[in-house]
């Protein structure tokens, strides 16, 4: 028990959800206050910046739709990361897995002659496999050799970026792309329908929501979910109890990479309609999704809300770029600050705060 003025802090390891929500909110508020200082340093009035963001992103229908569009890949990847972080697979490589999904989808779209529904289905299947395999390599290296997964997944992001670059400058460069580096436009059978007037490719959105629900059911109600929790909490005990640690972690890696692959398919088939520069396909969804998963505190259903929130933050980056002439890097500042304050306030989760003014005689 600690006393700070009239407040008493008591240790309480079971954090009720109200406290979790309050502390998450506190972290977000602190992050946005710190971001205001950054705006000042950049020479933008923070009050004006937040008013612009709020009115043009949160309150305008087109701004909100843009946030939803950004939330689709964030949710798919975030759900995968919820799984990955459960088993201590530090997947920082979702960015690359997303790009591989985009590459596989583009390959199917451009070169496989198939009819309307099957083509898209095959694109999603190929994207899942490609993303999953891109994640499987670091998982295998970690499981077999103990190689640090943060570094390998991250290095493979760069490799994926240059792979996309090579494809669009070289073999897959479009015949119609005069002087520009991108592939030909996908045929109609390989593009996703949009909600009219927006870039929201609703089939992927539906898929993402189903993924969140599915992972929640699996984690809470299935034997595999139980296995996941045991392996994540104590891998030594799990392998001592002869639980299939290797297979569990590998399958989690495949699933997490596959979901990121789905996100890549959605971006090229829904938004762009062609394979183009890696930094145009994804502006760091793979990294932002880490916050989606962390803010959701490992709960895939909560990830729906946190993905939407981070999607709106992303969309506000667009607004700031246009209205305030700030570079898009401003979203990285938001991301970094939010993550910093989230983990810094985590210790508060385990304390109960009470109002106990000191009595006169004590």
């Amino acid at each position: 028990m600690k006393r700070v003025g009239p407040l008493v802090f008591e240790k309480d390891l079971n954090a009720p959800s109200a406290r979790v929500a309050a502390i998450s909110l506190l972290a977000l508020l602190l992050a946005f206050s710190a971001a205001a200082l950054v705006f000042l340093a950049y020479g933008v009035n923070p009050a004006q910046a937040y008013r612009t963001i709020f009115i043009e992103t949160m309150l305008s229908p087109s701004g909100f739709a843009e946030g939803v569009r950004r939330a689709i890949p964030l949710l798919l990847i975030g759900v995968g990361l919820v799984l990955a972080f459960r088993v201590q697979f530090w997947n920082i490589g979702a960015e690359g897995q997303l790009l591989l999904g985009a590459v596989a989808a583009a390959g199917v779209a451009l070169f496989v002659p198939l009819g309307a529904p099957f083509k898209l289905l095959l694109m999603f299947a190929a994207g899942f496999v490609a993303g999953g395999l891109w994640a499987a390599l670091p998982v295998l290296l970690k499981l077999l050799l103990g190689v640090n997964d943060v570094l390998t997944t991250l290095m493979l992001n760069y490799v994926a970026v240059y792979l996309v670059g090579w494809l669009i400058h070289g073999p897959w460069r479009g015949k119609s792309a005069l002087g520009f580096a991108y592939s030909d436009k996908f045929p109609a059978a390989a593009t996703l329908p949009l909600i009219p007037g927006t870039y929201v490719h609703w089939p992927t959105l539906l898929l993402a929501l189903l993924a969140a629900l599915g992972v929640w059911v699996v984690l809470a109600r299935s034997g595999w979910g139980y296995l996941l929790r045991v392996v994540g909490d104590n891998p030594e005990a799990a392998s001592y109890a002869r639980l299939p640690v290797f297979a569990t972690v590998l399958s989690v890696g495949l699933a997490a990479g596959g979901l990121a692959g789905f996100a890549g398919v959605g971006e090229v088939a829904g938004v762009h309609g062609r394979l183009l520069d890696a930094y145009q396909i994804s502006l760091g969804y793979g990294y932002t999704a880490i916050i989606v998963a962390w803010l959701a505190r490992g709960n895939p259903l909560l990830a729906v809300a946190t993905a939407l929130f981070m999607g709106l933050v992303f969309a506000s980056g667009d607004v700031m770029k246009i209205s305030l002439q700030m570079p898009f890097r401003v979203t990285d500042v938001f991301n970094g600050l939010i993550l910093f304050f989230l983990i810094s306030t985590e210790r508060l989760l385990y304390y109960r705060v009470r109002w106990r003014p000191r009595r006169e005689r004590d």
Binding site: V38, A41, Y42, W90, I92, L141, L145, G146, V147, N148, V150, L151, T152, L154, M155, L156, Y158, V159, Y162, L163, G165, W166, H169, G170, Y287, I290, W294, M326, P327, R329, V330, T331, D332, V333, F334, N335, G336, L337, L339, F340, I343, S344, E346, R347
Partner: protein, 286 residues
């Protein structure tokens, strides 16, 4: 022929220098028990602060000072979250990288595209990095203070029981890591480029983290590893006529994966500090 070898060695040394500088700092931080994955972010901040200060004052040495100070301040923030508040070190490092790259990209926008008026020669940094590596090796392996640092990374409980202030040691090691990352950033923006551009660090900070691992946390082996890395990188540039440029650009990152895997194949202990990555809580059992 001889001229060719000389120039190739020089380029390899130049490319290896930022990795070596930042890698040495990371070795110190990790030897004290703290993994700081924020090297990339600290390096970006250091590079920007160095460039801005050098450009505004016209004095490149002030740039070096500003670069190291900025990166050290970033490291202090990381130390607060990961050591005092005991946040997950991996996630705190990632947050630092995002924040550092974001801040540098945002605040550096006015400086983009202008060449630096007064630059520093690359060779100074190369020589400084080599000298620092040997000093840091001697300090770490052969002095009492080095022993203190290592004991905090191997067994902080025992160190604490011996009267060593584990928190103070870890704080100093992490901040020192920041200084070194800032120096690496200053090298990039004052000597190697010499200019400022968003994305100037291009993953070098991450390679420095990898360097700490595959040099088995040993400052002298880090020298060899950094320059082997620089040589491979330079060699890949020599292949430009035969291979596509994208493949060449992807090479260093593939090297890291391959080298990390190969060094994991070594038999025996990896040399990783025992308590690496675990926050120390006084009076709590691990």
């Amino acid at each position: 022929m001889e001229a060719w070898i000389w120039s190739a060695t020089l380029r390899a040394l130049a490319f290896g220098t930022p990795i070596l500088l930042a890698g040495l700092g990371e070795i110190y931080a990790e030897r004290s028990g703290v993994v700081n994955l924020g090297v990339e972010g600290m390096m970006a901040l250091g590079a920007l602060a160095a460039f801005a200060a050098a450009q505004l004052s016209g004095e490149p040495f002030l740039g070096v000072l500003a670069g190291t100070a900025a990166a050290a301040a970033a490291a202090l923030v990381f130390a607060l979250t990961s050591i005092t508040l005991r946040a997950n070190q991996y996630v705190a490092g990632l947050a630092l990288t995002m924040l550092g790259i974001g801040l540098a990209g945002l605040l550096g926008k006015p400086y983009e595209g202008t060449p630096l008026a007064n630059t520093l020669p690359e060779s100074w940094f190369i020589v400084a990095a080599l000298l620092l590596a040997s000093i840091l090796w001697f300090f770490l392996q052969h002095t009492y203070w080095g022993l203190l640092l290592r004991s905090c990374g191997e067994n902080p409980e025992t160190a604490d029981a011996m009267g060593i202030n584990v928190y103070a040691v870890r704080y100093s090691a992490v901040i020192f890591g920041g200084v070194m990352a800032g120096l690496a950033g200053a090298f990039l923006s004052l000597a190697y480029r010499p200019s400022w551009a968003d994305g100037i660090t291009s993953g070098l900070g991450w390679i420095a983290v990898a360097l700490a691992i595959f040099s088995a946390w040993h400052p002298l082996k880090a020298v060899a590893a950094a320059f082997l890395f620089g040589a491979l990188y330079h060699l890949s540039y020599r292949l430009q006529a035969y291979v596509s440029p994208e493949f060449l650009k992807a090479m260093p990152y593939l090297f890291v994966v391959v080298v990390l895997s190969l060094s994991a194949l070594r038999r025996g202990p990896s040399g990783a500090p025992e308590a690496l990555g675990t926050p120390y809580v006084r009076g709590e059992r691990r």
